[in-house]
């Protein structure tokens, strides 16, 4: 694994990254790009589970945690959907295919796809770039379709242009039997004949039955209102999973900054069941 | 590692204001007036653009001497920029001296666009001074050293 000059003599610390090569860049929206990354030999960097994250870095620029948006069932590469919003992401958006970066991970827990979610009807609710971690689960579920019940996907964004992975949504997810996709955008827009409105209100309109396990990810304000709406609709907190994001440096629960109470988002999270979050101090 | 004992080649950073000193350097060049190649010129819009941190940073990155050239007092393209620069550099140089950095590693010289001769003479003089002082070790960052 280690590609350093030590020749495999030292046990590599988890803080030492691997070199990754960008093999594909897709422009999803004006400010989101999806990067496909493999190891130098062309192989996948590591195995992960849906919901897990990795530290992506450009030496001299910065390092940050990103959720892995590709499914573990993909045996060739990992993908990261990255929104441009800071120093590192700005730099990443300027990179081209063939350039190298460093990756370490995977870190954190995963959605319980092989335990609690197995056999369940699933409802995915995502907003904006919040689709990134859920896409990993959705594709995992679609690839192992027989293990899960119905799949409903509710995805909203600011505008038509801000819908991430639209091509895959339309060409794969919408065409998979037993999968219902509901798209919405915040404001009316020319050329859009779908639903218009915020995700939480659309959710209430859709009147889902409560026999589903819900996976939510999106901006904090959306999560807040979605959770409230789910409560009104009769969902229990134990039926809802979400994934959190805080400032991280080490990724292994040691650098001390991504804690919410005694839990570290990088190690004990990022996936939490909503009743677990309720027991934590409201600092996220 | 191969160690070669060669003659000391100082690294000199010269911040030159765009309007006077850079043109002065240009004139020195086009007049074929020689000055050592050890001088690396950084063009700045005005001598007062030079933040004291720039000087320190140059030393950190391996400079052995730093010189700031600007328009003569009274001739600043922006009217007063070099007056501020003058105060700033006076205080900075005095502080560096106070910290025990060898006097002479820093210098300010006013060079107009017509003073190609002065530019080349100043640089020759400055480089000679740095040769005399030797390598900068008091203001070095070991992380940037070989």
């Amino acid at each position: 694994m280690c590609e350093c000059s030590c020749g495999g003599k030292t046990k590599t610390d988890t803080l030492i990254p691997m070199v990754g090569v960008i093999t594909d860049i897709r422009t999803e929206t004006p400010d989101v790009k999806t990067f496909r990354v493999v190891g130098r030999g062309g192989k996948k960097l590591f195995e992960h589970m849906p919901g897990q994250c990795a530290m992506v870095s450009v030496p001299g620029v910065g390092e940050a945690m990103f959720s892995i948006t590709s499914s573990p069932t993909n045996t060739e590469y990992q993908e990261f959907s990255i929104k441009r919003c800071g120093t590192l992401t700005d730099y990443l958006h300027g990179m081209t295919v063939g350039e190298e970066l460093t990756v370490r991970g995977p870190y954190g827990n995963a959605f319980p796809v092989e335990t609690a979610l197995k056999g369940q009807n699933l409802l995915f609710i995502a907003g904006g770039i919040g689709l990134a971690p859920l896409r990993s689960v959705i594709n995992y579920v679609l690839d192992k379709r027989e293990n899960y019940g119905t799949v409903d996907i509710l995805y909203g964004s600011r505008s038509m242009d801000d819908l991430v992975q639209l091509k895959e949504i339309q060409e794969v997810w919408m065409k998979t039997p037993g999968v219902n996709v509901y798209l919405t955008i915040d404001r009316e827009q020319e050329g859009w004949d779908g639903h218009v409105g915020f995700v939480p209100s659309y959710l209430k309109e859709l009147e889902f039955a409560t026999d589903k396990t819900v996976l939510v990810c999106g901006p904090p304000i959306m999560i807040k209102f979605v959770l409230a709406a789910l409560g009104e609709m009769g969902f229990e907190k134990t039926q809802v999973y979400t994934t959190l994001e805080l400032r991280m440096k080490c990724g292994v629960g040691k650098c001390g900054r991504c804690n919410i109470g005694s839990k570290y988002v990088c190690k004990d999270g990022p996936v939490f069941r909503c009743d677990e979050i309720d027991e934590l101090p409201p600092e996220y | 590692m191969q160690v070669e004992h060669t003659e000391f080649r100082p690294k000199i950073v010269a911040f030159c204001c765009n309007w006077c000193s850079y043109a002065g350097a240009d004139l020195a060049g086009s007049s074929r007036l020689a000055y050592p190649a050890d001088v690396k010129i950084i063009r700045v819009p005005c001598s007062c653009r030079v933040n004291p941190m720039f000087i320190l940073r140059a030393f950190q990155r391996g400079a052995d001497g730093v010189i700031l050239c600007g328009c003569h007092p009274g001739d600043c393209h922006y009217t007063t920029g070099n007056y501020y620069a003058r105060r700033r550099m006076t205080l900075l140089f005095s502080m560096l001296d106070y910290l025990g950095v060898e006097d002479g590693r820093t210098r300010v010289e006013w060079v107009s666009a017509a003073e190609g001769v002065k530019f080349s003479a100043t640089m020759n003089e400055f480089v000679a001074k740095i040769h005399e002082l030797g390598e900068n070790v008091r203001l070095e960052d070991l992380r940037c050293k070989n």
Binding site: G62, T87 | P52, M53, L56, R57, F59, Q60, P73, G74, T80, Y83, Y84, R86, R87, R88, M89, T90, L91, L92, F93, S94, M95, L96, D97, Y98, L99, G100, V101, E102, D103, G104, T106, R107, V108, R138, L139, E140, D141, L142, R143
Partner: protein, 328 residues
């Protein structure tokens, strides 16, 4: 002290001020903490003694954002910082009510404790003597052995801004101690050394730095919302003392950023956990400004232009440093 409490209660009661910024008794006698009082009864915990070294003016930046006026107790030195903050529009005078308190010098708890005082309960200055009430009875020590370094060279007892004075008179003399007023002796001693020794001195001192930023955060002149050292792009990182160069860079830049604005309140040296004489850097700038550009005391008023945002056509050239014998 009772007088201060009574007056503070009056001002709270008649609504002149909404809160009081002062000091509160600590657990150990030598560690009073800066404290905010909002109710009259809270003021029972108020304390003012020579251990109250903290300069409260910096807290006024926060106080200015609150409703109503804040009563603050300022020692003579602290009022300079206050003026400087007013000048820089960080603090509004009309939001503040200043009671200038008398000062006979503030103490360095480490010095007092090092002199063998244990179980300190209270301290009072009596002329040249410090009387310390301890668990083991009343003890005495020479005041000059207990004062903070900054107070040994006291620059004056004049309050330059106040609404009223308690326990102080206008125009008091600097002191106590024979060094009073001689702020630049330390700088001059250093200047007289050969460069090599000066370098060794600073290298020794600055290499102790643990980059806790206490000097910056306690400094009333360091009032930037976002500090240059907080930038990840900056070459001298705020929290890693990675290289000796970086130590120098950090402290030169910090001192430079307050050059011409530093009132010499001495908080930086007081708060430094490693006892680095940071005031020697600030005073060097002050001294240079005085010699090159004329006497200037930051914070003496609220209008004058700071030396680094000003110039004259006849200013000395930077070459003066060598001419007057730089590199001695």
């Amino acid at each position: 002290m009772q007088e201060l409490i009574t007056r503070a209660k009056e001002l709270l009661a008649d609504g002149t001020v909404s809160r009081v910024l002062g000091w509160k008794k600590g657990d150990l006698g030598w560690d009073p903490e800066p404290a905010w009082f909002e109710k009259e009864e809270d003021l029972e915990g108020f304390v003012y003694n020579p251990f109250c070294g903290a300069n409260l003016s910096k807290y006024l930046i926060a106080a200015g954002k609150l409703e109503g006026r804040t009563l603050v107790f300022l020692k003579p030195c602290d009022t300079y910082s206050f003026n400087q903050l007013v000048k820089e529009h960080r603090v509004k005078k009309e939001k503040t009510y200043i009671i200038g308190v008398g000062c006979r010098g503030t103490l360095d708890p480490e010095k007092v404790r090092a002199a063998g005082m244990k179980g300190i309960e209270d301290a009072a200055v009596d002329g040249e003597t410090l009387k310390v009430a301890t668990l083991y009875g009343e003890k005495e020590m020479p005041l000059k052995d207990a004062l903070l370094d900054r107070c040994l060279v006291c620059k004056g007892k004049t309050h330059v801004a106040y609404d009223e004075l308690i326990g102080a008179q206008a125009g008091e003399e600097a002191g106590p101690g024979e060094l009073a007023g001689d702020r630049f002796a330390g700088v001059e001693r250093l200047e007289a050394l050969p460069p090599k020794e000066r370098f060794a001195f600073w290298q020794g001192q600055l290499s102790k730095c643990i980059r806790c930023n206490a000097c910056r955060n306690a400094c009333p002149a360091c009032s930037c919302l976002k500090c240059v050292f907080d930038s990840s792009q900056f070459d001298s990182s705020q929290k890693a003392n990675a290289d000796t160069f970086e130590e120098q860079m950090f402290h030169i830049i910090r001192a430079y950023h307050v050059a011409g604005r530093c009132t010499d309140c001495g908080e930086c040296s007081r708060v430094c956990p490693q006892g680095i004489p940071l005031h020697l850097l600030n005073r060097k700038f002050i001294r240079d400004i005085n010699t090159f550009y004329g006497e200037y005391q930051a914070g003496a008023d609220t209008e004058s232009r700071a030396p680094l945002t000003d110039f004259t056509l006849e200013d000395v050239e930077p070459g003066i440093v060598s001419k007057r014998g730089g590199g001695r």
